[in-house]
Symmetry: C2
C-alpha cells in the first residue's frame, strides 16, 4: 500500500475576522482530503475548521492530540501513514513546524519517506520581517531570550554585537505579559542608533508594526505592549546606503 | 493629509496553476485598494494580477519599477505616500522584503511612520523549514554561500559546526544552475549524521522536499536538481529524543 501523505495546515494567529482572511482558500479543501488530524488542541482546531467551512463534518476525521511528544504518538502517526491515510498536522496558531511540537512528527514523516506538503499561511516571524524594513537577506530567529535578568541583558548585548558584525537581523519572542520588561531591557542595553522593530497583533485589525531607532523608542510610552502578542526584531547593522548597495 | 499606507503583496513562487492556489483571496482586493504599484518587474506583475482577476484594470494604477535603488526612487515612493496614496509593493517572486530590494522602500516607509501591512503569501524559506522536520525554534537564513570553491567549503564546515554547537537550522539558497556542484560540496564536507533538507520546486505540482542524513544522500543521484529552484537546510544538531525533550 502506498504511504499516506502529510499536509501541514496553518491556522490564524488571532481570533478575529481580519485574521481569517489571511488564509489561502485551498487550505480547507486540503483538510477535506485528509482522514486523520494531529493537532496541538483538538477543541480550537474543531472550532477553526467549522469557521472556515460550516459544512465540514468534523467527526469524519480521526483525531489525535500532539501534546506531549512521546514514542507512542510517533508510532501512531507513523502507523496512520503506513495505512495509507492522509494526515493533517495543525498548530495551535500559525505554521506547523515553526516553534512548534509538530516538528517532531514531520521529522518522523521524513524518516519514512512520506511526502510532505507545507501549506502557505501566516507566520508572525515572516510577516514581521517583511514589514520591518530590516535586513531580509540574513536573519536569525532564536525563540525566547533568557528569563533571568542578568542573562537576558547579556543576551541582548550579544545579539546587538552579532547583528552589527554580521549585518544580520535577529528575531525573538516573549510571553506577552513579559513584553514591557523585555523592551525596557532592550532599550537600556543597546546603542542609540540600533533599530528595533516591535510587531504587535500581527494579522489582527489592531496590527501595529513599527521600526524605530533605540533613541526614538526612548521617547515613546511602551506600556501598550502589555499582554499583546508581539515579536521583536533587532538590527544594529549598517542601514541602507543608496548609491553603494547596487 | 493623512499618509498613504503600504501593502506588501506576495506573489507565486512558480508559474503554474497549483502555485496560484497558494495565495490568500484577500490579496487581489488589497491591490484594488491601492493607487500605486512599486514592482521589481512591471511586465510579470501585470500578467500576475490579470491571472488573479481578469477584470482588474491594470492601467488604473500608477506604476514604478524598483530595479536599481537610488535616492530618486525612494523620494518618489515617499512623495506618493505623502500625497495620501496607498502603495502596493510587489516582488518578482515570494514575499516583498525577504531577500529582495523592496526592503529599502519598506525601511523608508518606517522612517516616515507610514502604516505597513504585510500580506500572507508563499516564502520558500518558511515552507521548506516547515516541511524539513528540522529545528524551527532556532534558525538562520543566510542567503547565498560564497561562489569560490575553497571559501564555499570553509563556509559549509563553519555552518555545520555552528549548527551542532547552537542546535540551529541553517538555510541557504543557490542560483539553480549551480545546485549540483553545491550539493556535492555539502555532501563531501559534512559529517555522515548531519541532516540535509533539499527542497525543490516549492508550491509547484513537482514540489519535492526531502530530509536525509548526509550518509543517505550519498546513495542518491542528485542531478535532478540541475536548474530546479531549490533551497537547502542543514541541521547538524541533536535530533529529537522523545523522552527527554518535554
Amino acid at each position: 500500500m502506498a504511504l499516506g501523505e502529510v499536509f501541514l495546515i496553518p491556522t490564524v494567529l488571532q481570533d478575529d475576522e481580519t485574521a481569517l482572511e489571511s488564509l489561502p482558500i485551498n487550505i480547507i479543501n486540503t483538510v477535506r482530503n485528509c482522514q486523520v488530524i494531529f493537532t496541538e488542541n483538538e477543541r480550537t482546531t474543531r472550532r477553526h475548521l467549522k469557521k472556515m467551512d460550516r459544512n465540514i463534518v468534523i467527526d469524519n476525521f480521526q483525531w489525535f492530540t500532539i501534546g506531549k511528544i512521546e514514542d507512542s504518538i510517533l508510532d501512531t502517526f507513523s502507523q496512520q501513514l503506513q495505512l495509507g491515510k492522509n494526515v493533517a498536522i495543525v498548530s495551535e496558531a500559525g505554521c506547523p513546524g515553526i516553534a512548534d511540537p509538530g516538528q517532531f512528527l514531520i521529522a518522523e514523516a521524513q524518516k519514512i519517506n512520506a511526502k510532505i506538503h507545507p501549506l502557505v499561511g501566516p507566520s508572525s516571524i515572516l510577516l514581521a520581517l517583511m514589514a520591518s524594513g530590516m535586513n531580509g537577506q540574513n536573519f536569525h530567529f532564536m525563540g525566547y531570550l533568557p528569563v533571568d535578568t542578568t542573562e537576558r541583558k547579556n543576551a541582548i548585548r550579544k545579539i546587538e554585537s552579532m547583528s552589527i558584525n554580521d549585518n544580520c537581523t535577529f528575531i525573538f519572542i516573549e510571553t506577552p505579559y513579559r513584553n514591557v520588561p523585555l523592551v525596557k531591557d532592550i532599550i537600556s542595553n543597546t546603542k542609540p542608533s540600533t533599530r528595533l522593530c516591535i510587531a504587535a497583533n500581527i494579522t489582527a485589525a489592531s496590527e501595529n508594526i513599527r521600526t524605530k531607532s533605540i533613541q526614538d523608542w526612548k521617547k515613546e510610552d511602551l506600556n501598550y505592549l502589555h499582554k499583546q502578542p508581539t515579536i521583536f526584531l533587532l538590527d544594529g547593522g549598517r542601514q541602507y546606503a543608496p548609491k553603494s548597495h547596487y
